[in-house]
């Protein structure tokens, strides 16, 4: 199982911790010294480089902890993630309450360096550690009638100031079509940079679907349901015109309030240039999932 997909974004597996902690300074030094040189165009080369861990841990949308980008880093510490169990229900062979350890047992944790594109037109590159969702689904046994997978985020009102304020309806829910869920790019991530995931990033286990806008990649999952009908998705319920069920990254379909043609890589400083957004966030291998679909209609 696993290793079905090969990274086009690479990082030396053995990068010492001290190095990735100081990656930005090192890269700046290398670039200044002209040590970075290859046949890749400048833009693609920039895309190869994961964001430093402090970017990934301090610029987050996790409305359970507040709407400010730095709120999750400030408030997420209160979330209780041990013990953690996931309710698996619906059209599966092995329903029930799975402990995180049981669910992960025997599965291959891989590093996946993915582009991460937020619907708000910013982006990062994140070196996730996780397992393919397909492997988890194989383990719980998907019934042939199942067409969609639904996910739910934990709700701990006493530990989550945003939940008490009801900025959006909670629990946060999301969903994927079964073929999207089974795609080898789709992972359940448990770590970043080889370390256990920080709570503000969706610890202890979250979805990562790199060709969709970030809000599809639901955090801190406590429930996975296999269902026949398209499940509800939080932002889609709040504003269906702005947030479609599919929400594939698409530079040609604008958000009603802003353009999706370009994005800004987080971490580039005050004069960071915008870069062109890529179709399916640069993962053209998923295009076949949507063959014959009008992506402007099913956005």
């Amino acid at each position: 199982m696993a290793h079905r997909w090969t990274n086009d974004l690479t990082r030396a597996d053995a990068t010492p911790r001290a190095l990735w902690l100081n990656r930005r300074q090192i890269m700046a030094g290398l670039a200044a010294g002209g040590a970075v040189g290859s046949a890749l165009p400048a833009a693609a080369q920039a895309a190869l480089e994961p964001n430093p861990i402090e970017d990934i841990r301090t610029y987050n949308n996790f409305y359970e902890f507040g709407t400010g980008k730095d709120d999750p880093a400030r408030n997420a510490d209160a979330m209780v993630i041990e013990p953690w169990s996931i309710e698996v229900d619906g059209l599966v062979d092995n329903p029930g309450t799975w402990s995180l350890a049981d669910l992960m047992d025997g599965l291959t944790v891989e590093e996946r360096i993915y582009r991460f594109r937020c619907v708000e037109a910013w982006s990062m590159v994140v070196p996730w550690n996780g397992v393919e969702l397909a492997d988890v689904l194989a383990k719980v046994g998907v019934n042939p009638e199942a067409k969609f997978v639904a996910f739910e985020t934990v709700v701990q009102p006493e530990n989550m100031p945003g939940v008490r304020r009801q900025v959006i309806p909670f629990p946060y829910v999301e969903g994927l079509r079964l073929d999207e869920a089974m795609h080898p790019l789709t992972i359940l991530a448990t770590g970043i940079y080889g370390e256990p995931m920080a709570k503000q990033n969706g610890a202890p286990i979250r979805l990562v679907v790199p060709w969709k806008y970030g809000f599809k990649s639901i955090k801190s999952i406590v429930r996975i349901s296999l269902v026949e009908e398209e499940p509800p998705a939080t932002w889609n319920i709040i504003n269906p015109r702005e947030y479609g069920f599919y929400s594939n990254v698409n530079p040609e379909v604008d958000h009603p309030r802003w353009s999706q043609a370009t994005e800004r890589r987080i971490g580039g400083g005050l004069f960071s240039p915008r870069q062109d957004t890529l179709m399916f966030n640069g993962y053209p291998e998923v295009a076949s999932l949507y063959e014959g679909m009008d992506l402007a209609e099913f956005y």
Binding site: T58, Y59, R257, S259, I266, L270
Partner: protein, 206 residues
């Protein structure tokens, strides 16, 4: 009224120019924080938001000067020009960060203004403030006479559009922009009532 009198006598002795200095220093300091990597990993967005919010706060403060005098007797009218002109300066900083650092391309700036309603109302608000900033000097007040008062009522639609701009750009049900919008509407409706009450007496005093 003792407290109000004390505040008034104190404020009469204070110069108004520090308002300009403090606001300009704050704008510059925040820019420096962004430049030196102290505004988090996305300084452009942070700067844009902080400038925008402070501009709105200053505009609301300017609008609150008259009702404050009417209802509490505290008279800060001497500071209103400094507050208003500083507010425009911060709006200009907000607009510049958005146009030059955020959107970056001239074509895209125009496209956003035309296509995105929240940008449109924000830009309209900015346009309305330009003649106000240009006429916020003693020479213009004298030259325009009663028309100056009429012209400066443009602050009302400018503030409404500014509040709308803030509310429109947020996601979900956030209380902060609603609070500002509610405050602006409340201050404006106070003015309408004040105006209605004061009108008969104005003929005598002018």
């Amino acid at each position: 009224m003792a407290l109000a009198d004390r505040i008034n006598s104190l404020s009469r002795r204070l110069p108004t120019w520090p308002v300009y200095i403090l606001v300009a220093a704050w704008v510059a300091w925040l820019f420096w924080l962004g430049l030196s990597g102290q505004l988090g990993p996305e300084p452009i967005n942070t700067l844009e938001r902080k400038y925008g919010l402070f501009a709105l706060q200053l505009l609301v403060a300017g609008l609150a000067v008259t009702p404050l005098r009417t209802w509490t007797g505290v008279n800060l009218i001497r500071f209103r020009r400094a507050i208003g002109v500083s507010a425009f300066f911060v709006v200009l900083a907000h607009f510049s960060v958005w146009a030059l650092l955020d959107v970056q391309r001239l074509g895209a700036i125009w496209a956003d203004i035309v296509k995105r309603p929240y940008v449109t109302v924000g830009f309209l608000s900015f346009l309305l403030l330009i003649p106000l900033a240009m006429t916020s000097n003693t020479w213009s007040v004298r030259r325009l006479g009663p028309r100056w008062r009429q012209l400066h009522k443009l602050t009302y639609p400018a503030l409404l559009l500014g509040g709308l701009h803030f509310w429109w750009l947020t996601k979900g049900w956030q209380w902060e922009p609603l609070l500002y919008l509610g405050g602006i509407v409340a201050l404006l409706s106070l003015r309408i009532r004040l105006g209605a009450r004061r009108r008969p007496t104005r003929a005598r005093t002018v």
